[in-house]
């Protein structure tokens, strides 16, 4: 099963909005997102920074949260997106 990452920030409104979508997708598909909070955990922040080359070009040349990432395919989705779009993306990764 694909190892999907979700980088998020505790005080980011976009992340807050997306979290229930992510949980719903997990329930519906059996897929799992490894959720990494990046502003209060430097190890998670470093992990996100280590993927900067793959993430930034897809996120307006910045490191943005939330970012959904598949480290195997280097595919990423950033920001607040519709539920169906994220679900399709997640299914495509598995």
């Amino acid at each position: 099963m694909a190892n999907l990452l979700m980088f998020h920030g505790r005080e980011c409104p976009h992340c807050k909005k997306m979290m229930p979508f992510v949980e719903k997708i997990e329930q519906e598909t059996g897929l799992r997102f490894d959720k990494r909070e990046v502003w209060h955990d430097e190890a998670n922040a470093d992990l996100m920074r280590s993927h900067r080359e793959d993430l930034a070009p897809k996120c307006g040349n910045q490191l943005r949260v939330p970012t959904f990432f598949n480290p195997e395919t280097k595919d990423a989705v950033c920001g607040e997106v519709e539920y169906e779009k994220l679900k399709d993306w997640a299914l495509k990764q598995s």
Partner: protein, 143 residues
């Protein structure tokens, strides 16, 4: 071009930039700025009053900043409260008021671009968009 430091010879205002202001914003004297060293600038600033800023002070500051612009602080109070909490936690933990919806890269110059308020009027979430917002939604285009 590299930014440098300048001091007003009348009122000791310090300016950091590639060129000094023609007119000093404090004492209104023309051509008043002389280039100085970083050490001198830091000494003068370091000897200044030790002001601080609470989240409420910052809210007032961004409201007065927005008042002169085509955008306003988001009327969604709950969202703004969450963002201010993040901004202040980031200042406490990481040194500056970094944007809660992005991550610093650890490149100092690069990360100055995500100090709040950032130059969001050029972002694709704002520029040319009717209901434009800054990336986090702290600022929204005034209706």
């Amino acid at each position: 071009m590299k930014k440098r430091y300048w001091r007003c010879f009348v009122c000791n205002d310090i300016h950091y930039g590639i060129a000094p202001p023609e007119l000093c914003p404090t004492c209104k004297v023309l051509n008043a700025y002389v280039e100085i060293s970083a050490a001198e600038a830091r000494k003068i600033l370091g000897g200044g009053p030790n002001t601080s800023q609470t989240a409420e002070d910052f809210r007032a500051a961004i409201e007065s900043f927005a008042a002169g612009n085509e955008f306003e602080v988001n009327p969604d109070r709950e969202k703004v409260d969450l963002l201010l909490k993040g901004i202040f936690e980031n200042e406490l933990n990481h040194g500056l008021k970094y944007c809660p919806c992005r991550l610093r890269t650890k490149d100092w110059e690069e990360d100055l671009r995500i100090v709040c308020p950032c130059h969001f009027t050029i972002h694709e979430t704002y520029k040319g968009i009717k209901d434009g917002e800054c990336w986090c939604g702290l600022f929204v285009r005034r209706k």
